[in-house]
């Protein structure tokens, strides 16, 4: 087992160095362009290694007990070979959009069975379709704990609980028992199982020695996406402890109770999981920008650049979970995952509101073996504007604190504070501003900059469930577009409630929700056949587009400069 684990550690080689390089070259980048890492495709890099060796439970057992035959249609649909036709996708989609509310399952029971090697749903444990259909009297009999859409557990390889998302004490004691059994099962099977698919839910394992992360999800995310979220949790833990310290601890004592060291940080992990359920940043592997006039942003960036110090690697100004500006030391890149972890840390702790915080933080994608030291403070008492200065030197608090002072002074002298304040008053823009009728929502991601822009989620996605449903749809599109065995560049879905488009290219990707009327009516005659399937996307974005739509699309895709001009996004192409 140990050998197997180590084999997979290739990705952990730090892709950066904590040292600021030799002093002479340690200048900051001339450009105010946010220094996000290139090639920020979610799932790029490290995850690949994990799934190469994936074997499903069925692969292991079907010769003996014919479990494959017992698989549900839903499960079989999850197989790459059957994902090919647009028809099928369309069918999946309509099912998806009506079924995203999920179904009740006796997870614990299911998992006990999986432990005993009987994965096929038995009559007692198959889904109870009616339970969630809004009958109130059934609520009382439901075990609320089991009804959560996604459970996440972290255990040590010795089976000790490290984290549970919905960890009521009673629930924990019984569940951890099951988890421990599962872990030993994993052990026995030589690490072969990565996920278990059952009727309507997935159990996904990610093993990152010395931890095992488990998700039990009723969402329609792909296995890869769930695993991607689990990796975020793993990175979150690393950001508190470093990979080096984590490993050292478990080398010293295999059954160490890590909860001791993580005590008080559960809320950071909880917050991360909640964010991932609502915020497309994680799915996109990109960072959202605060809409801001380009001139103001440039002034902010210049001010940040001027407030430098030798030990300072990244200077980041953010508001809520949106990036205002990021300035980096030359040749140092901040991976979106690291930036997401920083955003999450800040949004999950009110303690930064007062005074100036100075905290060790590991940026695991940059260097998982050491700590940076982050100076975190809000600029003004009542303004949601947080300054994050990342330094390599833990002794450098006062120097870095002085950078903050200098930054604020520059801002004042440039007279952009007022404009900033204005911008903070409207941190989101309306989709109507883009000027495409029937456009409900979109996500535009620029891969080269690792940034995305997206309007506020408006009607009909008003209710929380509707918002989650929309994100679920994007997740689904995303998993289809990035399916490893059959990636798709253009996807078009006609759903009962909306039409969805995905247009995925090397430099950028666009994900769109349109009113279900639009394409049937106006543009249907103008579909193009790109060779893959009828792809209105290509049409919409390219040549023979309905004039009024084309203009709007130019705003999103062709003329991304437009968005920059309107201050919707910083640097897009």
């Amino acid at each position: 087992m140990a050998a197997d684990v180590h084999k997979k550690k290739g990705w952990e080689v730090p892709n950066g160095s904590l040292a600021p390089g030799d002093g002479q070259h340690a200048e900051r980048s001339e450009s105010p362009t946010p220094g996000l890492a290139q090639g920020t495709e979610p799932g790029a890099g490290q995850e690949g290694a994990m799934f190469v060796h994936t074997r499903s439970y069925e692969d292991l057992t079907s010769p003996e007990d014919g479990a494959a035959a017992a698989r549900s249609p839903e499960e079989r649909r999850g197989e790459p070979a059957e994902l090919t036709s647009m028809e099928q996708i369309s069918k999946d989609f309509s099912e998806l959009s009506t079924q995203l509310t999920g179904m009740a399952l006796d997870l614990e029971e299911e998992m006990r069975q999986s432990k005993e090697g009987k994965l096929e749903p038995s009559p007692q444990t198959t889904r109870r379709d009616s339970v969630l259909s809004g009958k109130e009297e059934e609520d009382v009999t439901m075990d609320a704990w089991r009804m959560h859409r996604k459970h996440v557990f972290v255990l040590s390889e010795a089976g000790k609980p490290v984290y549970s998302r919905y960890g009521s004490e009673e629930a924990l004691s019984s569940t951890m028992g099951v988890m421990m059994a599962l872990v030993s099962f994993l052990e026995a099977e030589k690490n072969a199982i990565r996920s278990i698919h059952a009727d309507g839910y997935k159990v996904v394992f990610v093993r990152r020695s010395p931890l095992v992360l488990v998700a039990v999800a009723r969402t329609r995310q792909s296995e890869q996406e769930i695993a991607h979220e689990l990796l975020y949790i793993y990175y979150q833990i690393l950001s508190l402890l470093t990979w080096t310290q984590l490993n050292h601890i478990f080398q010293q004592k295999q059954n160490y109770d890590l909860r001791r060291l993580l005590a008080g940080s559960e809320r950071i992990t909880d917050n991360l999981l909640d964010l991932m359920a609502h915020d497309p940043s994680f799915l996109m592997g990109a960072v959202r920008c605060l809409p801001l006039a380009a001139s103001v942003r440039d002034a902010v960036s210049t001010s940040l650049q001027q407030a430098k110090a030798k030990s300072l690697v990244f200077s980041i100004l953010l508001s809520g979970n949106q990036l205002v500006s990021l300035v980096r030391k030359k040749d140092q890149f901040l991976h979106p995952i690291d930036l997401h972890l920083l955003f999450n840390l800040i949004s999950s702790s009110s303690s930064f509101r007062e005074g100036e915080a100075w905290t060790p933080i590991c940026l695991p994608k940059f260097n998982s073996s050491g700590f940076f030291h982050a100076h975190i403070s809000y600029l003004e008492q009542e303004m949601d504007l947080c300054l994050l200065l990342v330094s390599t030197d833990r002794e450098d608090f006062f120097t870095v604190s002085d950078c903050k002072r200098r930054f604020q002074e520059r801002l004042r002298r440039r007279g952009v504070q007022h404009a900033l304040q204005e911008a903070l008053r409207t941190p989101f823009y309306s989709v109507a501003q883009v000027g495409i009728p029937d456009l409900r929502h979109f996500i535009y991601k620029s891969k080269s900059s690792g940034l995305f822009t997206s309007p506020e989620i408006e009607a009909p996605y008003v209710q929380e469930e509707e918002k989650e449903r929309l994100l679920g749809l994007y997740q689904y599109l995303h998993s289809r577009a990035h399916n490893s065995s059959r990636p798709l560049k253009n996807i078009y879905f006609t759903g009962p409630r909306e039409n969805l488009l995905a247009w995925v290219r090397a430099v950028c990707s666009i994900w769109v929700s349109l009113s279900s009327l639009v394409l049937h009516g106006r543009a249907v005659g103008e579909w193009h056949n790109t060779g893959v399937a009828p792809s209105p996307c290509a049409v919409l974005l390219g040549v023979s587009l309905h004039p009024c739509a084309r203009e709007g699309w130019a705003g999103i895709a062709v003329g991304a400069g437009e968005l920059r001009h309107r201050g919707l996004c910083h640097v897009l192409l």
């Binding site: 402890l241 702790s349 009110s350 303690s351 915080a357």
Partner: protein, 200 residues
């Protein structure tokens, strides 16, 4: 007389140490903002400054509010390295935090010579008298044997919070004066402390 003895304003670094959720941040917040609100555990460390104007001197308190969580222990010594005073805070309703405060003291004793740092033992949350686990006498007695200042406070009700910082300022000024007279130093030397970081 006052005028001629007025010391130059000086900086005084105070570090708050103690287990998680004993109320270190609440004490700092009470002292700096004169307010109380439910706070979340500190991440790493928070830095505050607060001016204290006394008749004889004005003191700029630099307050390091450290995180009590175990994972930050390894970095705590960073913050108390240059400190002039330390508040060892425990929660009077939780005996364990009192025992932890004793351990903190041992750490400090390793780092500092006896007269290098002023240490105050602070029992917080006196408003929760009903749940008290550490008797006042117990804290007092321990502080006496170790030569520490002793206070019981409530960040919530504001009980003795200002007094604690005031007592620290007074004691540090007193020590400064003693040191000065001990070495027969005069105003010229005191002037130097204006630029130095050494307190008072």
């Amino acid at each position: 007389q006052e005028g001629s003895h007025r010391l130059p304003s000086s900086q005084c670094m105070v570090v708050l140490l103690g287990s998680t959720s004993v109320g270190k941040s609440s004490l700092a917040y009470r002292y700096v903002k004169n307010d109380f609100r439910d706070s979340l555990p500190t991440v790493g460390c928070s830095f505050f400054t607060q001016m204290l104007n006394l008749e004889v001197a004005s003191i700029k308190f630099e307050i390091w509010d450290t995180a009590g969580q175990e994972k930050y222990h390894s970095v705590c010594h960073l913050y108390y390295r240059g400190a002039h005073a330390a508040l060892l805070v425990y929660d009077i309703t939780n005996k364990e935090t009192f025992n932890r405060a004793k351990l903190w003291l041992r750490d400090l004793e390793k780092e500092f010579l006896p007269d290098e740092i002023l240490i105050a033992l602070v029992g917080n949350k006196t408003d929760l008298a009903g749940e008290r686990e550490v008797a006042t006498e117990e804290g007092e007695e321990f502080a006496r044997t170790k030569g520490l200042l002793f206070m019981e406070t409530s960040a919530k009700s504001s009980h003795q919070v200002n007094d604690t910082f005031m007592a620290i300022a007074q004691e540090l000024l007193q020590r400064e004066r003693e040191e000065a007279s001990h070495h027969g130093l005069l105003t010229a030397d005191l002037e130097e402390s204006r630029t130095g970081t050494r307190c008072c």
